[in-house]
Assembly symmetry: C2
Homo-oligomer: 96 residues x 2
Amino acid sequence: MLEQFNKAFESRIRLQIMSVLAANESYDFSSLKDLLEVTDGNLASHLKALEKEEYISVNKSFIGRKPNTRYEATQRGLEAFKKHLESLEKLIKQQK
Amino acid sequence: MLEQFNKAFESRIRLQIMSVLAANESYDFSSLKDLLEVTDGNLASHLKALEKEEYISVNKSFIGRKPNTRYEATQRGLEAFKKHLESLEKLIKQQK
């Protein structure tokens, strides 16, 4: 059972973050928050963990005087996420 | 994004426990431990959490003088696990 499950993705919120960032060039914090229906703190802690693993990168800029923080999946993140999904898929197939 | 992800299954080890118990009538502690390659304490904590949710049931008996603890998935556990896998499958399909 040595599939490549990745502890970094062991949460619904992280799975959804990576899935959104895999499907989009980048995504800003508040749009992610609304989409995933999570609190600021909860989202921030998951994003920080993914950033620490270098699975996502952060781009801080200003729109006018308003700070805008955008997130992107890194190549490393997309590859790790793909492997994780493949392991999940294998486990799901075993149930059929 | 209101799939039915279930926090109780948010770990590789719990996914594998449920997958083994879904495929077998019952499984004893030490065989689970070897199969999943986890420590006693780690496995025990995940099993306790699943038991608390009534997703698995525990059967303590003796073989000769040796204690034998067997685990089984409950109907409730199998249904919740099935929904969780369906949510994962939906998320995976979105990536394709």
